[in-house]
C-alpha cells in the first residue's frame, strides 16, 4: 500500500493508505479529525473544505496520496492553543452565521481563503460569489456574508476587534 506523509495542523503523520483513500477519509477516520464533514461527497457542497498548502480544496475529491508532502489545515487547526477562536470563527459566532452547523467547518475554511486572497477588500457580491462552492441549507447566507465581511476587517487589520453584530 502507498505511504503518505502529510502535515495536518502542524503535526506530521506518515500513514499507509490505499490508492483510493480520500483525503477526507484520512482526516476523519485515520486521524480522527471529524470537524471536516462530508455532505454531498460529489464536490459540490463544500462541507469538506480544508486548506492544502494555503489553498482551499474539497477533501472529498482529493486522494490522500495527492496530499503527499502537503501542509493541511482543518477547522481544528484554526483556534489558538489557549482556545482563542480565529477571527472568522469568532465572527460566525457573533453574527449567528450558522444554524445546524453542518456546513460551517467548510464555510469557515473557504471564507478564510477568500479573505486571504483578497487583501484589497471584498464587497458583499464578492463574498457571495466567493462562497459559490459552499452550500448552506439553513441560513439563507445573509448572516454568513455579514460574518465574513466583519472577519475580513479584522484579518486585514482595518479593525483590531470584531465589529459587534447589531440587532
Amino acid at each position: 500500500m502507498p505511504q503518505v506523509t502529510v502535515t495536518v495542523n502542524g503535526q506530521t503523520h506518515t500513514v499507509e493508505v490505499e490508492g483510493r483513500t480520500l483525503l477526507v477519509e484520512l482526516l476523519r477516520e485515520t486521524l480522527r479529525l471529524t470537524g471536516t464533514h462530508v455532505g454531498c461527497d460529489t464536490s459540490q457542497c463544500g462541507a469538506c473544505v480544508v486548506h492544502m498548502n494555503g489553498e482551499s480544496v474539497k477533501s472529498c475529491t482529493l486522494l490522500a496520496v495527492q496530499a503527499q508532502g502537503a501542509e493541511v489545515v482543518t477547522i481544528e487547526g484554526l483556534a489558538a492553543a489557549d482556545g482563542t477562536l480565529h477571527p472568522m470563527q469568532e465572527a460566525f459566532r457573533e453574527y449567528h452565521a450558522l444554524q445546524c452547523g453542518f456546513c460551517t467547518p467548510g464555510m469557515v475554511m473557504s471564507a478564510i481563503d477568500l479573505v486571504q486572497k483578497n487583501p484589497q477588500g471584498l464587497s458583499e457580491h464578492d463574498i457571495r460569489e466567493g462562497l459559490d462552492g459552499n452550500i448552506c441549507r439553513c441560513t439563507g447566507y445573509h448572516n454568513i456574508v455579514k460574518a465574513v465581511a466583519a472577519a475580513a476587517d479584522v484579518m486585514h487589520g482595518k479593525r483590531t476587534e470584531l465589529a459587534p453584530a447589531i440587532g
Partner: protein, 264 residues
C-alpha cells in the same frame, strides 16, 4: 471507488512509459472530473498516473506572439497569471468562472481540455483562439483536437504537455450557467486573432464547435449588429431537461452578442 495502483512519475517520459505499458492505466491531473467518475464506478483504471509531480507540465510563458500554458496550470493560475491577464484577459476571465473556487484551486487547463466535457469552458476558447496543443509526441491544431463528446485526438499513452494560445487583438466570452449544476448551457468565445475571426461554442452540442456563419459576419463587421442576421440551427444541439435544442440555438446567438460586448 475500486482500488488502483498509484504512480507519481517526475518526468513526462516516465509517465508515458507507464501508460504505454498498461492500457488500463489513466493519467490524473486535478481529478475534478475523474475522481467523481471513479466514485460512481463509471471507470475502473488499473492504475492512476499522477501528473502532479512533473515540473515540465507547469508554467506560463510568452513565446513570440503566443502565450504557452503548461497543461498542469490550475484554473486559478490561469485566472490570475499576470502574463495571461495582460495578453489574453478574456481567457483569464473565463478561467475565473470555471466551477467554484475549490475546483479552480485543483482543476487544470490540460485536464479540462483532455477530458473534453461538452459543457467545459476551455474547448470553446481553444477553438476561437486557434490554439495549438503540444503533446508528448506532436503538435495538434485545435480544429483537429476535439473529436467528439469526451473524446480528443490524444492517444491513450500521449500526454498533453502545454497549450499555445496566439495573442488575439480582441477576445471575449459569455456563457449561461445552469442554475443548479453551474455548467454552461451555452457559452461562446469570440476572438479576432492573427488567423482572423473565430467563434467557439460550448455547452450547446455534444462537442464544442466553431460557428462559421458568425465568423463570416464578424469578419466583415466586428459588432453585435453583424450578428442580427446570423442563424444557429438547432439540428445536432442538445435537448435535455434543462432546455431544448431550439432554446440552446437561441442562447448561442445571445451569448455571442454578450461575448462581443465582453471583448469590447
Amino acid at each position: 471507488m475500486y482500488d488502483f495502483e498509484y504512480h507519481k512519475p517526475t518526468t513526462i517520459a516516465d509517465a508515458v512509459k507507464i501508460l504505454a505499458a498498461d492500457p488500463d492505466a489513466k493519467p490524473i491531473s486535478g481529478g475534478m472530473t475523474l475522481l467523481p467518475a471513479l466514485k460512481h464506478r463509471l471507470n475502473k483504471p488499473s492504475a492512476l498516473v499522477d501528473l502532479g509531480g512533473i515540473a515540465e507540465l507547469r508554467g506560463v510563458k510568452r513565446e513570440g506572439n503566443a502565450i504557452v500554458i503548461g497543461a498542469m496550470a490550475k484554473h486559478y493560475e490561469v485566472a490570475t497569471d499576470p502574463l495571461v491577464k495582460e495578453a489574453i484577459p478574456a481567457l483569464a476571465r473565463m478561467a475565473s468562472t470555471v466551477g467554484d473556487t475549490q475546483v479552480r484551486n485543483r482543476g487544470t487547463l490540460g485536464g479540462s481540455l483532455a477530458n473534453n466535457d461538452p459543457a467545459a469552458d476551455y474547448p470553446a476558447a481553444a477553438l476561437a483562439l486557434g490554439a495549438t496543443f503540444i503533446t508528448s509526441r506532436r503538435s495538434i491544431p485545435a480544429d483537429d483536437f476535439f473529436v467528439g463528446m469526451f473524446t480528443t485526438a490524444l492517444e491513450p499513452d500521449e500526454l498533453l504537455v502545454a497549450v499555445s494560445f496566439p495573442i488575439p487583438e480582441k477576445a471575449g466570452y459569455a456563457k449561461l450557467r445552469n442554475p443548479a449544476s453551474r455548467y454552461s448551457m451555452a457559452g461562446v468565445f469570440v476572438a479576432k486573432g492573427p488567423a482572423g475571426v473565430k467563434v467557439g461554442v460550448n455547452g450547446a452540442a455534444s462537442c464544442a464547435f466553431r460557428q462559421t456563419e458568425m465568423e463570416a459576419a464578424l469578419s466583415a463587421n466586428w459588432s453585435a449588429d453583424a450578428l442580427s442576421g446570423v442563424t444557429q440551427s438547432p439540428d445536432d444541439l442538445n435537448s435535455d431537461i434543462h432546455g431544448g435544442a431550439e432554446y440552446r440555438a437561441h442562447l448561442v446567438i445571445v451569448m455571442a452578442k454578450r461575448a462581443l460586448a465582453d471583448a469590447g
